[in-house]
Symmetry: D2
């Protein structure tokens, strides 16, 4: 089986209703960081706005943010980035009557409504996941050549040596184009490379080593002493693990700070809104996003990932979004996004990643 | 790495304390199914009883059951199997002072107390499981030749085509010596073979088929019409799935009834105490037990599986016990058994079984 | 706020389609316990069958069982109860075209389709439950006088002294008309009354008592020695707990056996199909069913409880069905029943029952 | 029952071993934010350091941070707060041999080792919690007069009207001395006060209101327009909810930012390390900490809360720490802190808080 992108069915903008629709109303932001009353907020779907008699698709959308008309282009901005006077589109209908048209079925095959509904059902430990693995494997092979795969990792991901190795092989194999995580993931991973443990436990045998509870602190302190992860890797001759693989293969990674951090490592972004901006910078060019074992980061990235991307050549394609977690609660929280493209897999991420790497032959 | 049985360190019965210990006290069961006051109840560990001045090991033990001296031998009986007048050992100490000695460390390496403690810690989604997979693979290779592997399966196990196939290959490969499950597991599995679905959903694509909610009933009814699973398999030319593999390779399976059953299938044992007896008959000769995705059956089998087995040649060896489940609650409920041999793996059993089959090369 | 039964809107049987519909087809069961090909299986909704030109409502329905025409009446039978030659209704459409009409919206208010949909959504720990508590309190007050409330309890329910007392007060207060559980619930509860512990832990302080692991066995053995729970209560002067309250207030309880049972207690039904029959006997007259902290029993009872009951005076009313469990997986498994009447509450049952008792003023 | 503080048993510093112990070794921090090799890291227990021949207790401790001797006093600093040249205590033993003494049993009753062990066991949905409620009620009554109670709330806490009201009554009743949460909790709570919903669902009826998905954005935008929560409350005449209660009763609240935030509200601290500092400022004077329904914040606060506090009069007392969550995974993650004082309660926080308020009579 091989993967094929489902073509985008654009809305029929020449329909009577849309052709005769009024221009979208705009109002000026009354202050920095504040939207005008009646502002429109984006969804994850492609949305078109009639401005100057023409329909414009908002590129690089983001749910719950506002469309701003600037330099002949629609920018989707977080509230905190609004500037006083920004021209914000207003209106809360989506069928064109206010010059706003939300296109929900751009990637749906005709006559498959029933199936679509089925896909949106809750997923549980008892869902059959074999096809998901097969589809994901084919998708990643396609995306390695044609897209951009962004991974989001929870802190415990590197506690297991096999999972850590599998992910490192995915990086080396070209299946990872960006990584987003927190201080803890990077710390545990570097601890594994530096001292062979994670939180003081051997990552293969699970044996606790004497004074192992110092290991993550010693790791953090050494990296801080070196001034950067890169310098630490060089100084210590680190040669394995996720972060090291990213450094070796030039894969960008964004580490967002959190209130539970020790340290932190030098490259962690302490301001969460700066971190959001850095994450969204990676998401803007993503075509597939895979979140593993982190509710916080999964929701954060889910919130900033639309269901589509406008490619450099102007083509509109789907963004695939996976959430892998052992908890149905987390998986279903994400898949409420209502998109065909959002898929949940309920399992331990250790097994998920080892099986995926096996399937991809890395 | 290859597996080696840890040798049994028998207790030093010539120690002053044990040598001079009194005979164990016995009392007659006052009525059928009733033990005398002060009855002794078994643990999962090897227990020795002094009778006629000699220490006797209870073979084929079972937790929470009572030791009965009969025909010069210790039989461990469920309360319901006691007969009026049975000679039941009484006493609730375990250090020999009443002629009862519980030997907790028969399989422990000297000086490894700390490690043992670590093994008994709770396991969670964040535990590193790579070594467990490796050890289990080596164990199963050993047991295929030298032991007897009993599997316990929850009802949803066959909802996924890949997991179902992987388990069938394990059966064909000689890694399954007995199977214990319920009516639902067998029904779903036979529905997959007969109609390609489980509860009406395609076991690969997850697509619901029209009137699919009739599938399990049609399957049950057809099997009932045939009079037996074997006859159904023959009539319909069934050629895949777990139950079919067991039939084909002569692997015995015990299906215990439950109050949630439809049907049931002809071979399901409706009386739960008869079912317990049939299950224990399989456990008596088991050397490794693996429970997957069923709290009810896992606890039932856990309760009837001791930590050791006396082999036909008189040697005492360990019984290995695994519990694989996506819920920490279930896994930790089982691993409270306090035995080195009980290991929990927290994951989706679909991934577990596919990875295990892969590792075993079947 | 006070509770009012929503009136039943019967189907309009005089509509052209239903008036001209053919009689339902019947076929004889080919053997004991086997339905004819094409048998019809029941849902939880009211279903009408045209026989002899008249529409008949199946009373005392049960999902996944088959309608049998016998003595001028429709009996809904489990497969295992079919007798060779029974006249089984066949057909798998539900709109009348084969003389079978399923009436899904008998208790729906007109124009409330949207709300109904909302009610069927998955429930999670984050759902707001205050209204559910209020509604349930009002419902139970109504049912105490006008209905019949059946409770289903998981084994751990009596581990907490407060929960155990609260439930006992509900029994004394007239809010419990029947109880369904297993051997373990009754054993733990009687252990609490007899020895003050559950599985050897004090049910208030949680302290483990010496040799406490003998307590449940001593309890079981004593009850077995007495010959019955009633005799045990009398002999020991037991005066508290759930089972004792049921005995005192003449509330029938059904204890179904399972493969994990020790003992069992004398009144436990060992054959699960006999147990199903005993449970269904209670369900036939139930108007509200509340399942707490047991997946096995909740599914079993859920399967045998229709969404409606035909009262002695011929009126059709709704059956209310609640499932209370700390696991979303269990709660949502039950609420997939697709009925307005099935409600899930995600919490620890200890808190649920204490709060409910408080609200009811008992 | 009424609460009594367990007196602190200080270590016997005049023992031969401690009297003759050497001074603790110190080394200068080699750079800002970097500790010297061999730095000592703190635990949650009282730790004494021998400096200039005298033993000094570190006040205001924090796990995994380093003790710095400054101005004749021990300051426990996060790595990021170290200044080049800071005198950091070094050494990784805890028995005095390096001038460092960790006092683990300061609040333990003599001879109760076994019970203590029991308290540290994992807690599950099946643990009996009645005594915990009683103890907590008594503790809070004591702390209202004599201590300082800090609450930590997860984002979904105010989705339920009853829980929201109960907590507001606790604030009004004097049981809340500080609140820590995130942007989402405050947003949902203010949305409830402003528009009667949480994420667009009525917080009592659960009904979704039209365009309700705009409600949290409208709330955030309005507060941002007002410039502060206080101004918003005044402008809109807000009169209910958690945040409003805190404002009304002068209870300080710290809102820490996270990468999943919309908005954010004006008072949210965007830099997580500044947020940590603000949170620790509250924890420094806390005597009881209660975390509800948030893994992120619970771990963050758990990490910064020692097991003891030195009161203004020099007395050492215990800090009580509770973690209430519906997931055993979260609860047990916290209670691994190894302290008598850390207690987990496994339930839905809605029920927990309503029951607690009821018990306290507010």
């Amino acid at each position: 089986m091989s993967f094929e992108l489902r073509p985008y069915n654009p809305p029929y903008l020449k329909s009577e209703a849309l052709r005769t629709a009024p221009d979208a109303r705009m109002a000026a932001a009354p202050a920095d960081g504040v939207a005008p009353d009646g502002f429109h907020a984006m969804s994850i779907f492609p949305e078109y706005f009639k401005i100057g008699g023409c329909w414009h698709l908002a590129e690089e959308s983001r749910m719950d943010c506002v469309p701003v008309w600037e330099d002949g282009c629609l920018h989707v901005k977080e509230f905190r980035h609004l500037k006083k006077g920004d021209a914000v589109v207003c209106g809360r209908t989506e069928n064109g009557e206010e010059g706003i048209y939300l296109h929900m079925n751009g990637f749906t095959e005709t006559g498959r409504a029933a199936e679509n509904f089925a896909f949106r059902q809750g997923r549980s430990r008892e869902t059959s996941f074999s096809r998901d693995y097969d589809e994901l494997r084919d998708l990643l092979r396609y995306e390695r050549e044609n897209g951009r795969i962004v991974w989001v990792l929870g802190p415990a991901f590197t506690f297991d040596s096999g999972a850590r190795d599998a992910f490192s092989r995915l990086v080396a194999g070209g299946y990872v184009h960006a990584l987003m995580a927190g201080n803890a993931l990077a710390t545990h991973d570097l601890e594994g490379a530096y001292l062979g443990t994670a939180l003081g436990q051997n990552i293969y045998t699970q044996e606790s080593v004497p004074n192992g509870h110092y290991h993550h602190l010693d790791t953090i302190n050494r990296v801080r002493g070196c001034g950067s992860v890169k310098a630490f890797i060089k100084e210590q001759g680190i040669d394995d693990g996720i972060i090291c693989s990213c450094e070796k293969h030039g894969v960008p990674y964004v580490l967002a700070g959190s209130i539970r951090d020790d340290g932190p490592l030098p490259c962690v972004i302490g301001d969460v809104y700066d971190a959001q901006d850095a994450m969204r910078a990676q998401v803007r060019t993503a075509t597939t996003v895979i979140c593993m074992a982190t509710m916080l980061h999964s929701i954060a990235v889910g919130n900033m990932t639309p269901s589509y991307r406008v490619m450099p050549n102007g083509a509109v394609r789907q963004i695939y979004f996976y959430c892998v977690d052992i908890s149905e609660f987390t998986v279903n929280k994400l898949s409420d996004r209502g998109s065909l493209a959002a898929k949940g897999i309920v399992t331990n991420v250790q097994d998920f990643i080892k099986q995926l790497a096996e399937g991809l032959g890395v």
